[in-house]
C-alpha cells in the first residue's frame, strides 16, 4: 500500500476542488432566503399598489369598508389588531412572568421539567384548535356563565358596555393571551436563567426573602430581555389568524367595548381573500397585509435585538420560537 519515493511526492500534489464546489452550493442555498424575502416584499407591494395609489395613507384613517362600492378604510382592522393584542398582553404578560419566575425560582426541582413541558405544549397546539375550543367552550363560558355574574359590576365601564353575544374582542384577547403566553414564558425563563446566581445570592445574603431577591435584583437585571420577550409575544399576537377570526366576530367596526365584536387585519384577509369582490378589494387586502408584515417584522427585530443582548448565544430561544 505504501507508495515510496517520487511516487509518493507526486501523490502530494493534488488539489481539492470539492471544497470550492461545496461552499458555492451552500452559499447559493443560503442566498435563497434573502432573495425570497425580497420577493415576498416586492410581491406584497406590487399587489397592494393599486390600493396604495387609490387610498394612500387615508387607508389608515377611514373606517368604511365597502367592497361593493369600492371604498376601503382599514382603521377598524388596525384598531382591532392593536386592541385585541393589547388585551392579550395585559392578560398574558403577568401570567407568563409568573410562570417564568415559578420555573426558575420557586418550583421544586422535580416539578420544573414537567411544568415547563406542559407550557411548551401550549405552543404546539395549532391555532385552529384554539379557535374550535374558543367557539364551543370559551364563548359559551364567557357569555352564559361569566358575564351574567360580573356584568352588574362592570357594565358601567365604557370598555364593558353593550350586549355580550359571545364573539368579541375580549374573547379574541383571551385566546390570544393563551397562545402567546408560552412564548413569553419560555423566553423570559431563558432570560432569568441567564442572570448570574451571584446576583441572587448577594440579595439573599443581605437578608432578602426569595421573592424580594427576585423582585429587586433578578427581574431588574433581566429587564431588557423580558421586555424583549414581551415584544416577541406581541409580534405573535399581532399576526395570529385562525383562532382570532373564529371568536372575534369579524365586524369592520371600532368600539371601545371589549364585549363588542371586532376585526383584525389577519382575520380580514383570512375571511375575504378567497372571495374578494374585485381587484381593488384584493389589492386593499394586500395593502392591509403589507402593513401587518411591516409591523410584525419591525416588532420582531426590536424584540430579538433586546433578547439577543441579554441571553446571547441562546439560539435555543429563537429556534424554539
Amino acid at each position: 500500500m505504501r507508495v515510496t519515493g517520487e511516487g509518493r511526492w507526486k501523490a502530494l500534489r493534488t488539489v481539492s476542488r470539492g471544497d470550492v464546489v461545496y461552499r458555492a452550493v451552500l452559499t447559493g442555498l443560503a442566498l435563497l432566503l434573502p432573495l425570497l424575502l425580497l420577493t415576498l416584499a416586492a410581491e406584497l407591494v406590487t399587489n397592494a399598489w393599486p390600493a396604495i395609489r387609490r387610498f394612500g395613507f387615508g387607508f389608515f384613517a377611514t373606517s368604511v369598508w365597502d367592497p361593493v362600492a369600492g371604498r376601503f378604510g382599514a382603521l377598524p382592522l388596525i384598531f382591532g389588531t392593536l386592541y385585541s393584542s393589547l388585551v392579550a398582553m395585559a392578560i398574558a404578560v403577568p401570567l407568563a412572568l409568573g410562570v417564568a419566575i415559578f420555573l426558575t425560582e420557586f418550583a421544586p426541582r422535580w416539578l420544573r421539567r414537567p411544568v415547563a413541558t406542559l407550557v411548551e405544549l401550549l405552543a404546539a397546539i395549532p391555532s385552529v384548535i384554539y379557535g374550535l375550543w374558543g367557539i364551543f367552550v370559551l364563548l359559551p363560558l364567557l357569555r352564559d356563565t361569566l358575564w351574567p355574574v360580573v356584568r352588574p359590576a362592570l357594565v358601567w365601564l365604557p370598555i364593558f358596555r353593550g350586549t355580550f353575544y359571545g364573539p368579541s374582542v375580549l374573547a379574541g384577547g383571551i385566546i390570544l393571551a393563551i397562545m402567546v403566553l408560552p412564548y413569553i414564558a419560555a423566553v423570559s425563563r431563558e432570560v432569568l436563567l441567564a442572570v448570574p446566581a451571584a446576583q441572587r445570592e448577594a440579595a439573599l445574603a443581605l437578608g432578602a426573602t426569595r421573592w424580594e431577591a427576585v423582585w429587586t435584583v433578578v427581574l431588574p437585571y433581566g429587564r431588557t430581555g423580558i421586555i424583549g420577550a414581551v415584544i416577541l409575544g406581541l409580534g405573535r399576537a399581532l399576526g395570529e389568524t385562525m383562532a382570532v377570526t373564529m371568536v372575534i366576530g369579524n365586524r369592520h367596526e371600532i368600539s371601545a367595548s371589549l364585549v363588542e365584536p371586532g376585526y383584525t387585519i389577519a382575520a380580514a384577509i383570512a375571511n375575504e381573500f378567497a372571495e374578494a369582490v374585485s381587484a381593488l378589494h384584493l389589492s386593499a387586502l394586500f395593502y392591509a397585509g403589507l402593513v401587518l408584515f411591516v409591523v410584525t417584522v419591525a416588532v420582531n427585530v426590536i424584540a430579538r435585538l433586546l433578547i439577543w443582548r441579554v441571553a446571547r448565544g441562546s439560539a435555543a430561544g429563537s429556534a424554539a420560537i
Binding site: 500500500m1 505504501r2 519515493g5 509518493r8 511526492w9 501523490a11 502530494l12 500534489r13 493534488t14 488539489v15 481539492s16
Partner: protein
C-alpha cells in the same frame, strides 16, 4: 546508523531524516509561536518535543502536517521537508500532506456515528478505492499494530463510545496508521488517560517506530525520557537544544534545558 560522534547541539544529518524543518517560523496573527526552527526527525526514531506551556512545541507539531494554517490568521515561513520536498510549496495540497503525516490528538476522538471498524477505516475512505476484503485486512492489521485487536475483534460493529479512554485512544492510533502515513505525530496522547492507559500507549509508541517516524509532544518529562530516542527542548518559541534523549536529560548543554529537565520550572 553511526551516532556516536554526534554533538548534543547539532541537528541530525539530513540524509537520514524523513522529515526536517528549515528556518520554520509560525505566526498566529502578529505573534510568532515558533521562530526560525531547524530540526530534523530521523526515520524510525521517536523524537520528543518538550518544554513548558506556551513554548511552541504544539505549534511546531501542527506545522508538520499543515494543521497550523487552519487557525484564522495563521501563517508559516520557512520550509518543512518530507523526503527533501517542501510540503509548503505552493502547488502542494495540505490535504495530501495530512494523508502522509498522521496525527493523534490529546483527547481521544472516535467518530461517534461510526462503528469501531468504520472508525479505523475512516482514513481509507479518502484514499484510493480498495475492495472490501482489502479494507477489512487493513483494519485488522491496524488494530493489531495498535494492540487493540484482541479486545475488539468480537465487536467491530459496535460503537466506539463503549470503549474506555485508553482503548479509544488506541483506536485513534489504529485509525491514524491504517492509511499508512510516513510520519506519525502525537500531541500529548496520554494527557487525558489513566496510568494504565498511558502505559499501553507508551508501549505502542515504542512499537510504532519500527515502521514510522514518530514525533511526540509531551509535558511529562518522565514519559519523554522513557519513550523517545531524540529530544528537542523548546522555550519561548525557540528551539534551545536537541540531541539524544539520554544526553539531553543527563548532560544538557544549555542552562535553560538543564533548568527545565531538573524541574526548576515548567
Amino acid at each position: 546508523m553511526a551516532r556516536a560522534a554526534r554533538s548534543a547541539a547539532a541537528p541530525a544529518a539530513h540524509a537520514e531524516a524523513r522529515l526536517a524543518t528549515d528556518g520554520l517560523t509560525a505566526w498566529y496573527g502578529p505573534t510568532a509561536g515558533i521562530r526560525d526552527v531547524s530540526l530534523a526527525f530521523e526515520a524510525n526514531r521517536v523524537t520528543a518535543l518538550i518544554g513548558p506551556s506556551g513554548c511552541g512545541k504544539s505549534t511546531m507539531l501542527r506545522c508538520l502536517n499543515r494543521m497550523h494554517e487552519l487557525v484564522p490568521g495563521a501563517r508559516v515561513e520557512g520550509r518543512v521537508l518530507l523526503d527533501g520536498h517542501d510540503i509548503y510549496a505552493p502547488d502542494v495540497s495540505p490535504i495530501a500532506v495530512r494523508r502522509t503525516v498522521g496525527m493523534v490528538f490529546q483527547k481521544p476522538t472516535p467518530f461517534p456515528t461510526m462503528s469501531i471498524a468504520e472508525n479505523v477505516a475512516a482514513g481509507l475512505k479518502v484514499g484510493p478505492p480498495i475492495s472490501r476484503s482489502e479494507r477489512d485486512g487493513i483494519v485488522e492489521q491496524a488494530l493489531r499494530r495498535a494492540a487493540l485487536w484482541d479486545e475488539v475483534k468480537d465487536r467491530l460493529g459496535d460503537s466506539p463510545l463503549a470503549l474506555s479512554g485508553g482503548q479509544q485512544q488506541r483506536l485513534c492510533v489504529a485509525r491514524t496508521i491504517a492509511p499508512e502515513p510516513e510520519v506519525i505525530l502525537l500531541d500529548e496522547p496520554t494527557a487525558s488517560l489513566d496510568p494504565l492507559g498511558s502505559a499501553r500507549i507508551e508501549e505502542l509508541v515504542h512499537e510504532l517506530k519500527r515502521e514510522f517516524t514518530v514525533v511526540i509532544v509531551t509535558h511529562n518529562l518522565q514519559q519523554a525520557a522513557r519513550v523517545s530516542d531524540v529530544t528537542a527542548f523548546f522555550y519561548l518559541g525557540a528551539l534551545i537544544e536537541t540531541g539524544l534523549t539520554a544526553q539531553v536529560f543527563t548532560a544538557p548543554v544549555q542552562p535553560q534545558t538543564e533548568a527545565y529537565v531538573t524541574g526548576r520550572f515548567g
